[in-house]
């Protein structure tokens, strides 16, 4: 079977990989690129655990075909921290106990970043709607929403 | 003396008796004495409850060798799990 050659930028690095035409970006990121922080909870775009930013826009990587990533800029949870310096969302999730089992956490962090990149001062309701495509079964969302609101404050204060 | 209480499902083996006083140092000794008093009951408690025993309100699984304190209140209950 012939495979498609994809060149893209992931988390700041130029990356090349070969994939099948019918392969999802999620599978390519996990199996071909080795970015296991991108999680599969459903494979049907319902849970958001596989969220990535593609050219700055929030996407479920399970709903994108891997060849579509050619020429794009991708961000996964592995690329959120600046070296040892955690992104404020990551730090606030830790301090705010916004994770229990942690399987949904990478997707929430990416979705929350997509929100704060667009809207640095969201209301609680805006946070809740922006995260409505991400499922968490452990926390009841309370501490996630609080942590996103806190991170927004911190990001505004440092700018 | 331990105060042993029987749930309604166990009373068919005690001839309807709901409570007895038994002198016993351990659950094993208690079960032996209950078997003498109510033939068949000891085996039933062994099988059906897998010897989960509530002593003074606390449920203890695998309790065969558990000491029975003076004046303890004893119930034989089903072993529990949970989520």
């Amino acid at each position: 079977m012939s495979r498609t050659h994809v060149i893209c930028n992931i988390n700041g690095d130029d990356v090349e990989f070969l994939c099948d035409d019918g392969e999802s970006l999620l599978d390519a990121l996990r199996d071909d690129v080795g970015l296991m922080g991108v999680k599969e909870g459903c494979g049907t775009g319902d849970c958001g655990a596989c969220s990535v930013l593609m050219d700055g826009k929030l996407n479920c990587s399970c709903l994108i075909l891997a060849p579509e990533a050619n020429g794009t800029d991708l961000l996964t949870v592995e690329g959120m921290a600046d070296g040892d310096h955690l992104h404020p969302l990551q730090q606030c999730f830790l301090e705010g106990a916004a994770l229990q089992c942690g399987i949904c956490t990478p997707g929430f962090l990416i979705a929350a970043k997509a929100l704060l990149d667009q809207n640095p001062e969201p209301t609680e309701t805006e946070v809740r709607y922006a995260l409505a495509g991400n499922l968490c079964r452990c926390t009841g969302y309370d501490k996630i929403v609080r942590s996103v609101l806190e991170a927004a404050v911190q990001i505004r204060e440092t700018v | 003396m331990a105060h042993v209480h029987f749930a309604s499902g166990q009373r068919r083996l005690t001839g309807g008796v709901a409570e007895v006083q038994v002198e016993a140092g351990t659950v094993r000794e208690l079960v032996r004495k209950l078997e003498e008093m109510f033939p068949g009951l000891g085996a039933h408690l062994d099988e059906t409850s897998a010897t989960a025993v509530a002593i003074d309100g606390y449920i203890i699984p695998d309790a065969m060798y558990e000491p029975v304190p003076e004046n303890a209140e004893v119930h034989f209950v089903a072993p529990l799990g949970g989520g």
Binding site: L35, K39, G41, C101 | D56, I60, V77, L80, G81
Partner: protein
């Protein structure tokens, strides 16, 4: 937080450090079972039954075996028939033998080079079925003409024992006093019939495992599980192997809630790895998770409650049937044991029926069986309170059990904190605030036993004065942080100097499953015991260094202190640095069967708005008060409370299993099986009540489960307050509410 009595001044217990495993989870480095890749690894896929109930006439795997990349194909015939032995039913659930009992039941498995190859090959397996009649409801399966699922299933608990097989597993009965007398003495009697559907635990991580079986006949399994020691014994049993041939390494677990206390995949992966000589990974799809793994049971409950005009409950009569799924369980028994626990009464007659039917076999889900029971009981109690004009908190306080009162399932209550939970809600800002316009308010309480069981912990002091705490309890909600906090408190060591880890089945002593809210209670006890042993050793080492009697050495805040005052205090790090000189490295292990698990109670208040045009509900405000005993890490106690509440909200309002007439699940995705999302909810306000459990060194009670018990009734009561409707069938989804509103108008 409500501290209900003076508590010791702890330095670490009760603080909120960042959890030790947190960093890996926010940078994408935490390793779950599906993340593991081994050299030469194959991918497994399972062929599942399309029928709800059928005989397997024949299976032809030859075409599949000839397909590209296929290295192994197995069917039920490749595994031993355990018959009635323990785990016999589990083995038949892992892979069907003669019969499939529900749609999704595993029939065959394939291991191949890629997932696609495995999937294609599985679809090439030819299975001839003889389709049988099936039962999807309690009424159907209890009817005399129902197709029998298990030949020879004779109902237990009926005298004389029936002579014919049926789908009724057991009748359970708890009786006290004279229920007819209770109703004769009552001023008010209310009764209703209730129903609930199966609900899935809905963990976001699908089941996954990797097995690598070596030439020596031993296997290593990495898996997502709440209890790797149970995975070891169950996997060995299903394979007919000795337990010592199986090593299980717990991966990070992506949620469980009770659903990962059993096994589905592991024996299949091990067997295919043994046959192919290659590691085999199997990861379920979400569709498989819904169709083939354990939901919590559906139920049908008839309750009758009598009370006097002063609010005293005279008695409760209950008839409660619980689905067990395809294989026998004890769900109804647990329903009977929990249904009236938050209340005292002289008379009761509680009858339970466990039934099998053609749906996936139950797995535990947070306080299993208690939420449905509480839904019925607390709805009726609300109705009693309404009829006699009593406040819903007051009626609960009026009937509230306290220490020494008999629990409905027999024993006297030990120290419990229900009264304190009720008072905390009564005194909360939420309850004192007016009910928002066009909304209703509901109250309910819940109970769960909590359990103890076997746990092991090893605590090693490192040469630099730090410590490693190894336990056998998979961490599903932050328990590693709790273990570290208790060890920090004992040793007087900074909590970040402690590394808490979950050890595999070969590095730590036997430990029962993380279930029954037991990890922080029971495994915490083992950690404390090991630390106390270490403190004794540390004092001895100091006495060796000082050449004095050990009785002259005290352990104070992480230091050995010479009580007569002749020597300068030695820090833990100073003692470990010199450990070789004083007798070698310091470590201690404790293994125990924990006694004295403290019962858990919780009371909730919720405000709900109902849109009378669409039937849509909106949770406006929610407050939960729960007795934690002692909150070791309050943030994660709150997290357990909030998570339980929101699962209960989903159960009450939206979640349900929908089957077509042939018994096929119609909503096996998160799109159609709708769990709550962030925009459905308000913040979940928490009040941690602390009535310490006297049986635990820090008063821990266990917090994981009870939070899911009250929401069903609390929400139903709020919907009633808002609309006048008594909703007795779950979920209270918009179409149901709309239909009920329509009937009320007619």
């Amino acid at each position: 937080m409500t501290a209900t009595e003076e508590r010791p001044d702890y330095k670490y217990v009760g603080t909120r450090p960042i959890r030790h495993d947190g960093l890996d989870k926010v940078i994408g480095k935490a390793r779950y079972a599906a993340d593991l890749v081994l050299p030469g690894m194959l991918h497994g896929h399972i062929l599942r039954s399309p029928h709800a109930h059928a005989k397997i006439v024949s299976i032809d795997t030859s075409a599949a075996e000839a397909m590209p990349g296929v290295k192994s194909v197995v069917t039920g015939a490749d595994f031993p028939d355990l018959g009635a032995a323990p785990n016999g039913d589990l083995a038949k659930n892992v892979i069907a033998r003669d019969k499939v009992l529900y749609e999704g039941h595993a029939v065959a498995a394939v291991a191949a080079g890629t997932r696609r190859e495995a999937m294609d090959a599985a679809n090439a397996i030819v299975v001839n079925y003889e389709v049988l009649g099936h039962s999807l409801t309690i009424d159907q399966t209890m009817s005399p003409d129902a197709e029998i699922l298990h030949d020879g299933l004779i109902t237990r608990g009926i005298e004389p024992a029936p002579t014919e097989a049926s789908n009724i597993v057991a009748r359970t009965c708890f009786e006290r006093g004279d229920i007819d007398q209770a109703f004769a003495e009552s001023d008010v009697i209310v009764e209703r019939e209730f129903s609930t559907t199966p609900i899935h635990q809905g963990y976001i991580e699908p089941h996954a495992c990797v097995a690598d079986t070596g030439q020596d006949g031993k296997t290593v399994v990495w898996c997502s599980s709440q209890g790797h020691f149970r995975v070891r014994s169950a996997t060995a049993d299903v394979l007919g192997w000795d337990t010592s041939r199986v090593k299980v390494i717990p991966a990070e677990i992506g949620g469980g809630f009770g659903g990962k206390t059993t096994i589905y995949l592991e024996p299949l992966a091990v067997e295919m790895s043994a046959r192919s000589g290659r590691p085999v990974k199997i990861v379920m799809t979400r569709d498989e998770v819904f169709r083939a793994t354990g939901p919590t049971p559906g139920s049908k409950l008839k309750l009758k409650v009598g009370a006097k005009n002063d609010g005293t409950i005279t008695g409760v009569k209950a008839w409660m049937a619980y689905e067990n799924g395809a294989f026998p369980g004890n769900a109804a028994m647990l329903g009977c044991m929990t249904v009236v626990s938050p209340y005292t009464m002289e008379h009761m007659y509680l009858e339970g029926f466990d039934v099998v039917l053609n749906k996936p076999v139950n797995a535990a889900y947070r306080a299993p069986s208690a939420p449905m029971a509480a839904f019925a009981m607390d709805t009726l109690l609300d109705e009693v309170a309404e009829n006699i004009g009593m406040d819903p908190i007051e009626i609960r306080l009026h009937n509230c059990p306290s220490e020494g009162d008999p629990a409905p399932y027999g024993p006297k209550w030990p120290t419990i904190g229900l009264k304190e939970c009720l008072e905390a809600i009564r005194d909360s800002d939420h309850y004192k605030s007016p009910v928002p316009e066009n909304a209703g308010r509901g109250i309910a309480s819940g109970f769960w036993f909590n359990i103890g069981e076997a746990s092991s912990a090893t605590v090693n002091l490192n040469e630099n004065g730090t410590a490693t705490v190894v336990t056998g309890s998979p961490d599903i909600g932050g328990s590693r942080a709790s273990m570290a906090l208790m060890a920090a408190e004992e040793l007087g060591l900074d909590v970040y100097s402690i590394t808490p880890v979950v050890g595999d089945t070969e590095v730590v002593g036997f430990t029962d499953v993380t279930e029954g809210s037991r990890a922080t209670f029971a495994t915490g006890m083992a950690v404390v015991e090991a630390c106390r042993d270490l403190k004794m050793q540390l004092r001895q080492r100091a006495s060796t260094a000082w050449d004095c009697d050990v009785e002259e050495v005290e352990w104070v805040d992480g230091h050995a202190v010479h009580s007569p005052g002749d020597h300068e205090a030695l820090s833990l790090a100073a003692i470990t640095a010199a450990a070789k000189r004083t007798g070698g490295p310091l470590g201690a292990t404790a293994s125990l069967n924990a006694r004295g698990a403290g019962p858990a109670f919780s009371t909730h208040v919720v405000d709900i708005a109902v849109d009378k045009e669409t039937g849509q509900t909106q949770v406006l405000r929610y407050t939960t008060a729960q007795d934690a005993g002692t909150a070791i890490h309050p943030s994660y106690v709150e997290g357990q409370m909030q998570g339980g509440v929101v699962q209960g909200i989903g159960w009450a309002l939206n979640e349900e299993y929908i089957h077509d007439a042939d018994g096929r699940m119609e909503n096996s995705s998160f799109l159609d099986y709708r769990i709550p999302v962030a925009s459905d909810l308000p913040m979940i306000e928490t009040i941690i009540v602390e009535v310490p459990n006297p049986s635990h060194p820090y008063g821990v009670r266990g917090v994981g489960e009870v939070g899911i018990v009250p929401p069903l009734a609390a929400i139903a009561n709020a919907v009633h307050d808002a609309t006048g409707l008594r909703m007795s069938d779950l979920p209270m989804s918009p179409p149901r509410i709309l239909a009920a509103l329509g009937e009320a108008v007619e």
